[in-house]
Amino acid sequence: MSTPTATAGTRPALRSGVDLGTTVGDLGRLAVRGLRRESRRLDALFVNLALPVGIMVIFVYVFGGAITTGASGLRYIDFVVPAVLLLSAGYGAALTAANVAEDVNGGMIDRLRSLPISSWVVPASHVIASVVRNTVTAGLALIAAVALGFRPHATVGDWALVLALVSGYVLALSAIAVVWGLAVRSTQAAEAFSFIVLFLPYLSDGFVPAETMPSVLRGFAQHQPITPLVETARALLLDQPIGNAGWLAAAWLTAAVVISVPVAAVLFRRRTT
């Protein structure tokens, strides 16, 4: 043969024979691809740009007048902003399921897998693109909120924690979305994940105080993961005591990532071989 025949294992290598620096570069290249794709899809742009502003407006002006914030004594806009932040970012993160499904069901995956790259980079790049995109979306929602009268009281440290919380939430949801996207057979079924993610926050302490719900729903609302996430964000943004919500939120997010990443890896391997 006229070509150099480098064999695997002549240098420190991952499973695929690609070194770590190169793999990080590949992740970046594919994440940029993911972001470019999203920037060219009208539906994705709507979800990422118009939806957060729209939801913020609806809750503050349409529902806000009729909802009391119960024992918290907060203005409704202050009460609801953390939930809208998470709702907007989460809905965008759920789109990761459809993006992954599209790659796996289409012809693109064959091309990507015949390249000298580690194959797990493909779903991982969707997660990275999602974190970037939806953290920006949450930022937009926040700007809209401030324009509508939201007045946060947070230190720089608090803001850093809010950023970590939102991007951690997007990371966890995107990782779960990858699992969903790989588990279902079609892109349409993958899109259904968005609806679950869209409705889950409503059954939390985020939009109305859980104490106003009937007992069964209240039990669910008080114990589902969105509630400690919202309570943590609220405490950070409004300078209130966090209680154990912060630890609970961190535990939920960590658990989601730790469980879904290996499941996604196994599913990806199974779907693509």
Binding site: M1, S2, T3, T5, A6, T7, A8, A13, S16, G17, V18, T22, G25, D26, R29, L30, R33, R36, R37, R40, R41, G106, G107, M108, I109, D110, R111, L112, R113, S114, L115, P116, I117, T272, T273
Partner: protein, 315 residues
Amino acid sequence: MDEAAIQAQGVTKSFGPTRVLTGVDLTVPAGTLVALLGPNGSGKTTTVRILTTLLAPDGGSATVAGHDVRREGAAVRRSIGLTAQHNSVDDLLTGRENLELFAGLHHLSGPKGRRRAAELLERFDLAAAANRRVGTYSGGMRRRLDLAASLVAAPPILFLDEPTTGLDPRSRVELWSVIRELLAAGTTIMLTTQYLEEADRLADRIAVINNGRIVADDTPDALKHQVGTERLLLVLARPQDLHRAAPLLATQADRAGPGPQLDADTGELMMAIRHPDELRQALVRLHQAGIGVAQVELRAPTLDDVFFELTKVAA
């Protein structure tokens, strides 16, 4: 260069209870083009997917560029380009962005990748459409971009899975000339196709695959000789003459094995013709025996004919 670029021995693969490959043996010498010819479901794509490390074989062994496809997948992937059957470029990116992405994933440096992308766009006549999204491309343009994407790293070995299926005749001829150029530049190519004509025009050797097994592996000329270059279709004036006509023509067809095929309902008789003289002889013999011919038709052998002949010989 006497080493085989692609070698498969006894490769088997099943999906659940379905045995897709029952033992594929295949050799592609470096710098040559081997066409894997077969109908839908014969195992062409599965063979390509195994050789390009997309699928693990159940049994047998295969090496590509001297590397075992199972144990040295990364090394194999560094030596190959693949144009899969379905479009495998990103519709939402432009042609240029696609090529630059793949150049990056082949770990060409930024400037080098951009140069390579520009070069390929020029060569595949896509420069004018370079900054348009692939979603707006025609079928032929997409296919060319797909092929260009397989070439960013200038791989010594190229796999083309049904590269011209679904293309209009002009795009097909264009793609053929590109494939010939690549071959002339020293690339080893394995191409799958359903079209005998395509295999005939491009390949140094044709491997015919049927039911997951290579049933013939020879030069196009040798295969055509075996199958017959033309099919002669005769419709007799009176169908009841068929049983008299068949033996007259069988002696002539004997040299290549299978005799003429008969259809008693329609009075049709079909046989292979290897030389124009054989057509004349056939008509003279029928005329001398007083058998009237209503219709004479010559046609190129189809893939069906190839399989009919080859499976008959094998049986």
